[in-house]
Symmetry: C2
């Protein structure tokens, strides 16, 4: 994996173990990104009026093929949070309706549902998920305890932000469909980190980022909607003659009403095909497996060091390239973090969650065993230095 | 003005007379734009978590100084349409409420209000504006005829898209305030084209683009809200713990709740200070006057050629760097347009509006008298070739 590092733009003086927060864009994709921007500025009218519709269509096609979804069922959106907001504001919630979610959801998405509930009188219910997780069926059964006759929507992360835990959304979406409950999956961390087959997953709505694990530049995401529920969806930014009584001009509401939201730089969207090509060219399926193996080793080493138990079995597929390792309490967390970054140039999120301290480790193709060894060495030193 | 052309990235083989549609970004601003993107990719966490809040604050400060508004009363948004959508969805409209607008508004903004009215039972009323326009007072008096006791909101372009006509919004906002009517101004075409003093204008809400006449790269706009009405405004994309009962973390709702909408490339926003510096460095106030003089000459020449009357007195300030010239009917408009672009490489929007054909001419610092002479020569030839 050493040779892959030169493909990325990350500061070589830093040990970067936080791909999960914002991703990192490889040079070939980034160059494609900036080349689109130059092309736009060379002939703006030609670009927006003549070239862009075809380019967007090609982007939908490539993304649809990658996600196993019809291109017409995808909208290009800035990020997963944006996609979640589209759905949380579109659904005609009523007082008494319940939106069931887990206690591992991302803050901004919780805020979006809180807002929708304040507006409508619906209730947002965080189901406490049992940890450690032992099997997909256990997780699904546990979550299903939260379902009531008032559950109208299930909102779940595919891979959660705080715990990097992969939820068994296929099984949960299957049960939800049987019970006429709508499903929205927050796939912020999934596309590119795990193989994704939107048709097989069967969610009604799925919002994802392309700028995290799919290597796009920032501001590239998608919202998938199953054809049968697309009539429920309304744009956040109404533009381009959104008149839902009529057929849209291009004939595809998700493309025509959601991807177009006034003048913006579309280069992040147009970089999606280059990002997919990048992953193919460098055999990222294999790179991912190496990353997972390295991550597994990292967590097991930390658990050996601390004597703490991991949150999920390390030989499971509950995690892929991102995982969390429990840490013992430290006496001054801000100082601990500062030492880690300022003195050792290691970038990794460490914070409290559910009464414990955790390090969330991301391993991407640019990381090497030496990065993990550096982390282990520094953790050993700092945990001793800051022990309570 | 010849020397300014080399500062822009436009294809030198094209006579570009359509700055009004998407703007054009000068090289120094564009280079700053792409440099922000490289800096972000070099250290993503450092950039988003540590640097960006201060950079955004500096952007607000520079933009506020340019627009004569408090930095805290501005939100950075992708474009003016986005800003209009924030307001059209925020205001608690009720059945019977009227939103009064003109018959010269931009299609996407009309769609936004149509959507809000379908949701709430309010009515969107297009007041037919008398043309030709003779005085600011006449326009204001004319528009005011549309006001009724049910008028809750006045929505008006500062400079209209189809006619490039500058509305007397200061006078209209003054009367509206006296009558407890909220005002939202669509400033898509104003900032950078005319001097703008948001405090003096006195609108409740003002949405503007920085990527048209202010020279930013695409996707930079703002929404101004008067402090007294900010409590009415809700974000489209709810994120970053939007909980309006509480004080926002940074203490400034417009910044904290509206500028932050999940991970995106913020480089277009961060280019705003570079764009303002560009205009100062190249004395754009003087450039603008030269552009206006050249535009005035262009319209008068076309009117001489066609024998048609301009829509507004050519010695008025109803227009600045963008104006429309009426044309006689042509027998095959698509073929006419194709000849203009394919054979003569002139980029200019020509289309029917209110039973007449118009050319909308934009003159920017990269244009020269030779561009207008080329246009005049080709128009003379094609109008004869395509005369009905």
């Amino acid at each position: 994996m050493t040779s892959l590092k030169r493909l990325f733009m990350l500061d070589p003086g830093v040990t970067f173990l936080n791909h999960g927060s914002f991703g990192a864009c490889p040079r070939p994709v980034f160059n494609a990104y900036q080349a689109w921007q130059r092309r736009l500025e060379n002939q703006p009218i030609q670009f927006f009026h003549h070239d862009l519709p075809g380019l967007v269509k090609e982007t939908h096609r490539a993304l649809g093929a990658y996600l196993n979804a019809s291109p017409d069922d995808l909208a290009l959106v800035t990020n997963a949070t944006y996609g979640v907001n589209i759905i949380s504001r579109s659904l005609a919630l009523k007082p008494g309706d319940e939106i069931l979610t887990s206690d591992q959801e991302y803050g901004s998405c919780n805020s979006a549902w809180n807002f929708a509930c304040r507006k409508t009188g619906a209730t947002y219910i965080h189901h406490h998920m049992q940890l450690p997780a032992l099997s997909a069926k256990d997780i699904a059964d546990d979550f299903w305890q939260g379902v009531t006759s008032r559950t109208k929507v299930i909102f779940l992360s595919h891979i959660t932000a705080p715990a990097a835990l992969r939820f068994p959304i296929e099984e949960i979406c299957r049960r939800a469909r049987q019970n006429n409950i709508l499903t929205l999956i927050d796939g912020a961390h999934a596309p590119g980190q795990i193989p994704l087959d939107l048709t097989a997953i069967g969610a009604d709505f799925y919002a994802g980022n392309c700028h995290k694990w799919m290597f796009c530049p920032k501001g590239a995401g998608f919202l998938y909607s199953r054809p049968e529920v697309q009539h429920l969806v309304e744009p956040l930014v109404v533009s381009r003659a959104f008149e839902p009584e009529k057929e849209p001009a291009g004939g595809h509401p998700m493309v025509d009403y959601f991807t177009w939201t006034g003048t913006r730089d579309p280069a992040s969207f147009l970089s999606i095909p280059a990002a997919i090509e990048f992953m193919e060219k460098y055999h990222w399926d294999e790179v991912r497996q190496q990353c997972h193996a390295l991550l597994r080793w990292a967590i097991s080493q930390i658990c050996d060091m601390t004597g703490l138990e991991p949150l999920y079995p390390l030989d499971s597929d509950f995690y892929a390239q991102m995982g969390i390792a429990p840490l013992p309490p430290v006496k001054d967390l801000p100082a601990f973090r500062q030492r880690l970054y300022n003195d050792f140039h290691i970038v990794i999120p460490i914070g409290p969650w559910k009464e414990h301290l955790f390090a969330r480790i991301s391993v991407q193709g640019y990381n090497t065993k030496a990065d993990i060894e550096a982390l282990l060495k520094v953790l050993r030193q700092l945990l001793s230095e800051f022990s309570e």
